[in-house]
Symmetry: C2
Subunit: 224 residues, 2 copies
């Protein structure tokens, strides 16, 4: 029974990491598709959506079976609950990456608005947050998870700066409006991905320490 | 033990409905604040955020304790898992309503852009979806839950229409741009609330029937 349980937990972990790997790829490739105006890359991001959805259902099904049949306790129980939550956030991140890719497809039909400098930076930070959050889960590292949560302010700051910059473009020339709006929606989607990465960080802390730090300021929370 | 369990389940249900009631109020009042240019209403929506966050933590804590100590089975287990997911979606809906209220505060400082006709309609449908989704949970009514999911297309259509309309305003006169952008973000937040209501509908179907209908088109799914 115990060995069976460990095998099941290991299988769940592997599925979650596979899902995380695909979503990280979507997040990275969606920005590459924008920067390189590469329509095929954008389509590839969109195509991965089905696989992500399918993995979420499998993970959820497996976690539910585990709860029903094996009644895990303590850390194992928290692992199963945290995994279900993380899978939900990963799926939404994948949706956001798909939104970005769809906007890229529209933007590719017109000449580029401006060199994209801040946007790739926003995407890069977001991508790092997702990777670090998943790493912290694997390594059961609450301190690393907390570091992820702390980076969310940086992302919010960058997003606000981009927002102001894009509004300026719109006001300067009405012909910029549609393109600037799509870039704004892209920025918004990355900002949302960072929010989800923060949720994952919080779930990792709950899993490792059994503490619920949500809705506390990260600066008030001390890593044990 | 069994009576204890029923009492615990009942307490969880009551907390979730209290949380749902507050979030419904936030969704309604945020739109009222916009239509009536009522800054005090907007602030009241923002103030409710703490209570919603606190309730989510309480619900999650209670569900985790229940899983750990009582090891619920079958419907009870699905009830606990669904409740945790629904609470997560309600919390995000509350965040969206707060985003709306914050945009209203900014918009109130300038003259109104246009009579808001489609936006209140979008808000109303969204609000109905949230209410019906929670009702379907209480009544264990998978068919009503499926009806909620089906309305999401209506919301997406309205959002797209509003998007096009607001872009036209921006192109007509650059002085409209900032206000139109805030209205667009408000519309986007309602569209997101509707997505969360759809998630709740899917969780109710999983709870009642043990089926996972996510990522299927609602038209393919037949209520049993």
């Amino acid at each position: 029974m115990e060995r069976h349980r460990d095998q099941d937990l290991d299988q769940i972990r592997k599925m979650l990491l596979r899902m995380g790997g695909i979503v990280e790829r979507q997040i990275r490739e969606a920005m590459q598709a924008l920067v390189e105006r590469d329509a095929e890359r954008a389509r590839a991001v969109i195509r991965l959506d089905d696989e992500v959805d399918e993995l979420q259902k499998e993970i959820d099904g497996q976690c539910n079976r585990m709860l029903a049949l094996q009644q895990p306790m303590a850390t194992d129980l928290r692992f199963v609950v945290a995994t279900m939550k993380i899978a939900t956030d990963l799926e939404r991140m994948g949706d956001s990456a798909v939104n970005v890719a769809q906007a890229v497809e529209i933007l590719n039909e017109e000449p580029p608005l401006k060199p994209y400098i801040d946007l790739p930076r926003l995407a890069l930070i977001t991508q790092e947050m997702v990777r670090d959050a998943l790493d912290s889960f694997v390594r059961r590292d609450a301190r690393a998870a907390l570091d992820v949560c702390k980076r969310d302010d940086e992302v919010d700051g960058l997003y606000k700066q981009l927002f102001r910059e894009l509004v300026t473009y719109m006001i300067e020339d009405p012909r910029n409006i549609t393109r600037a709006l799509h870039l704004l929606l892209i920025a918004r989607n990355y900002e949302r991905i960072a929010d989800h990465a923060t949720n994952v960080g919080e779930d990792v802390i709950f899993f490792v320490e059994g503490r619920d730090i949500r809705h506390s300021s990260p600066d008030e929370v001390h890593a044990n």
